[in-house]
């Protein structure tokens, strides 16, 4: 019972964080058709900007300013980088974002140093929210859950219920038509790219102090974000949401399970003494998302909710 409750709580909070990060990526993909390899770098920028702003003012100011700054950086990258590269096709775009990821990492290393910075949870939220089964659940994680849900609702409202959202959706599928109707399509693209990056920045701001803020955080987070986007179905926000929660739960439950392969497959004669039998489920936890990715690509290439195949 304890395992289930803890698994759910941690899984959902981690999953929502993943969603914050991957929603921007999937939004950008459905708009421009390019997988932004530098997306996790914007996540890292969010954490570092928040660290700097928190240091000179307060976390609450950083909460608003840091994502906006990351969004602006994203918009500049789109306006003066991606848009120019776009003329040369998707491969050029892919390589551009790939290079950009390295560039951002090196710049961060030069400015902030190669090791982790001391970015902390704000004192106001640094207390235990409630206690179950002898363990407390930190208030900050509840705050993260709320921000993620607010962001999810806000994004949904923007895209589905406002005029701006209608134009964005139209621009995704019929850019020429929207252009002929008198809307500034390149501007729309730049805005969406900026918003996508700002969301990644927000995720960095929220996660940087729970985990570690160091120059390796982008590289560590990068692969898992792609897993979320592919499993959810490329370009689908709903899919990204489902996949994030699924992966969050999967990883947390796996760690909590004590069984080994021998326990699971004992009926075919596997014993604790053998190499394979002694592998525990919990030690496999970090691999599971990637196993899911491989299986998904084999059996359902369009992902959970996606419309198009890779």
């Amino acid at each position: 019972m304890e395992t289930i409750v803890f698994g759910l709580l941690n899984g959902v909070s981690y999953g929502l964080l993943l969603f914050m990060l991957s929603s921007g990526l999937t939004l950008i993909f459905s708009m421009m058709g390019v997988l932004n390899f530098a997306h996790a770098s914007f996540y890292m920028l969010g954490a570092y900007f928040a660290f700097t702003i928190t240091g000179s003012t307060s976390f609450w100011i950083a909460l608003f300013i840091a994502p906006v700054l990351v969004g602006l950086v994203g918009a500049v990258v789109e306006r003066y980088g991606l848009r120019k590269v776009h003329a040369n096709g998707h491969v050029a775009e892919l390589l551009f974002t790939f290079g950009l990821a390295y560039l951002i990492e090196e710049v961060v290393k030069i400015i902030y140093g190669k090791t982790a910075v001391d970015y902390r949870v704000p004192d106001l939220l640094n207390f235990a929210a409630f206690e179950i089964y002898g363990a407390t659940f930190p208030a900050y994680r509840i705050f993260v859950i709320f921000i993620a849900i607010a962001m999810l609702v806000g994004l949904w409202f923007l895209l589905k219920r406002t005029r701006a959202g209608l134009i964005i959706q139209a621009a995704l599928t019929h850019p020429h038509m929207v252009g002929h109707l008198g809307h500034n399509v390149p501007f729309i693209f730049m805005t969406v790219f900026g918003i996508g990056c700002a969301l990644a920045g927000l995720a960095g701001l929220m996660a940087g102090n729970i985990f570690v803020t160091d120059p390796a955080m982008a590289v560590q987070m990068g692969p898992i974000v792609f897993v979320v986007v592919v499993v959810g179905g490329i370009g689908s926000l709903e899919g990204a949401f489902l996949a994030s929660i699924l992966i969050g739960l999967l990883q947390n439950f796996a760690v909590g399970i004590n069984a080994s392969f021998a326990d699971l497959f004992g009926f075919i004669g596997l014993t604790e003494m053998s190499e394979v039998g002694s592998i525990t489920v919990s030690s496999l936890a970090p691999v599971l998302p990637f196993l899911l990715l491989v299986l998904m690509l084999i059996f359902r290439p369009q992902g959970l909710m996606g419309e198009q195949e890779l």
């Binding site: 803890f6 090791t115 002898g134 570690v212 909590g256």
Partner: protein, 411 residues
């Protein structure tokens, strides 16, 4: 005319440069993580070696020669370490320092053995200051390897002796990093606990990936629901800090018996919760009674490197033992120094350290300490710091462990 002038000048400078190269710099290479999640662990040790070298140079050097320590970033990766080792050897380094990661140390021991047998006259010696898998001074021992830190069995003996004295501990949870060192810690804990306190139940035995886990909350919650009275861990670097971060968030008060509770950020992650709850075994802590010189050294280190604390006392021990050996041998060449190091003793701030000749394992008193808010020196830039526990001094004889090493020595 101009050409001839230039040629003469060039010849002159090259002679000068050659002279400078012989003017006697002892090159030492520090191969450890200087970036990434384990970067702070490497950085803290690197700065300690550099400060030690500076002090030695100011005091006239080693037989008049100057020591130069250069850092090589290996990203805790054994393969990358071999590349860096080759680079270091090409740069002229004859002494290698490494400590973060027994996986790396194992690769270096092997590579250095091979290098030395293939390049007689250009031998390289490995000073291991923190990779503590017992095998390196037992079945895998090598003449070219010297260890300046107590190995896992020695530290575990200290921890299990402490547990044996505490009857209220009835169950123990083991958690470690999933590689050769983490496995050695878990194995040592199991065998020693069964021997010293057969009544203790080991309620958990968990290995997690090295330097990959960012959120230890699920592990901590597993520990809590196992009902353990104490946790033993060999985690170091970011894995130690993040484990403590998750422990602090969970609000449980289980004591943590660690090898590397002194890793940067571990104490500040727990805050007040670390008091009488986080324990470590080391060769010294800053809050032990010591000479004024030692206090001055601790303060100088903090002033020079405010991000870190004086933690790698063994870095200074290793350097001072090197100097003593080189002076005894009258040479800074690897083979004479290595031979002089065997059986060498020095007095350091917290006791006597002897390099056991049989297996090249340092023998010295160990100290069990916990966190307190009433200390001379805090860590992590907060008020809390390490203080000796009652009967926390483990004398040399008690800390010593037997060895199975059968060493082959060069002629």
């Amino acid at each position: 005319m101009t050409f001839r002038k230039t040629a003469i000048l060039a010849a002159a400078t090259s002679v000068l440069a050659m002279g400078a190269a012989n003017a006697d710099t002892i090159k030492m290479a520090f191969i450890d993580p200087l970036s990434g999640p384990m970067g702070p662990s490497g950085e803290a040790a690197y700065t300690s070696f550099q400060l030690a070298a500076e002090h030695i140079n100011e005091a006239g050097g080693v037989n008049g020669d100057m020591i130069e320590v250069t850092g090589y970033d290996n990203k805790v990766n054994p393969k990358e370490s071999l590349v860096q080792l080759q680079k270091a050897i090409d740069d002229g380094a004859r002494y290698i320092f490494q400590g973060n990661g027994s996986s790396v140390a194992a690769a270096l021991i092997d590579a250095i053995d091979k290098h030395n047998s293939r390049n007689p006259g250009e031998e390289v010696v490995f000073f291991n200051y923190a990779a503590v898998t017992p095998a390196f001074t037992n079945e895998l021992c090598s003449f070219w390897h010297f260890r300046f830190d107590a190995h896992a069995d020695m530290k575990m003996a200290a921890i299990t002796d402490w547990i044996a004295e505490h009857d209220e501990i009835k169950s123990v949870y083991l958690i470690g990093q999933d590689y050769v060192f983490g496995e050695a810690v878990v194995a040592a804990a199991e065998s020693m606990l069964t021997e010293k306190r057969p009544d203790i139940e080991i309620v958990g035995n968990e290995l997690h990936p090295l330097a990959k886990v960012k959120d230890f909350t699920p592990y901590i919650q597993k520990i809590i629901s196992s009902g353990a009275d104490a946790v033993i861990t060999g985690n170091w670097g970011a894995d130690m800090q993040l484990l403590m971060k998750a422990a602090a968030e969970s609000g449980s008060d289980i004591p943590y018996l660690t090898f590397y509770g002194g890793s940067k950020g571990a104490v500040s992650s727990l805050g007040e919760g670390a008091i009488d709850r986080l324990y470590q075994v080391t060769e010294g802590i800053t809050n032990l009674d010591a000479s004024d010189e030692q206090y001055a050294l601790i303060e100088e280190y903090k002033e020079r490197f405010p991000d870190y604390d004086y933690y790698y006392h063994r870095a200074f021990n290793a350097m001072n033992m090197f100097v003593a050996a080189a002076e005894a041998a009258g040479s800074a060449d690897p083979i004479p120094v290595a031979k002089a190091l065997e059986g060498l003793s020095i007095e350091h701030a917290y006791g006597t350290a002897t390099m056991r000749a049989e297996d090249h394992q340092i023998q010295q008193p160990l100290f069990i300490s916990t966190v307190s808010n009433d200390v001379k020196y805090g860590v992590d830039n907060i008020e809390l710091g390490w203080t000796l526990v009652d009967a926390g001094t483990i004398p040399l004889e008690a800390a010593e462990q037997p060895t199975t090493c059968e060493m082959e020595r060069p002629e």
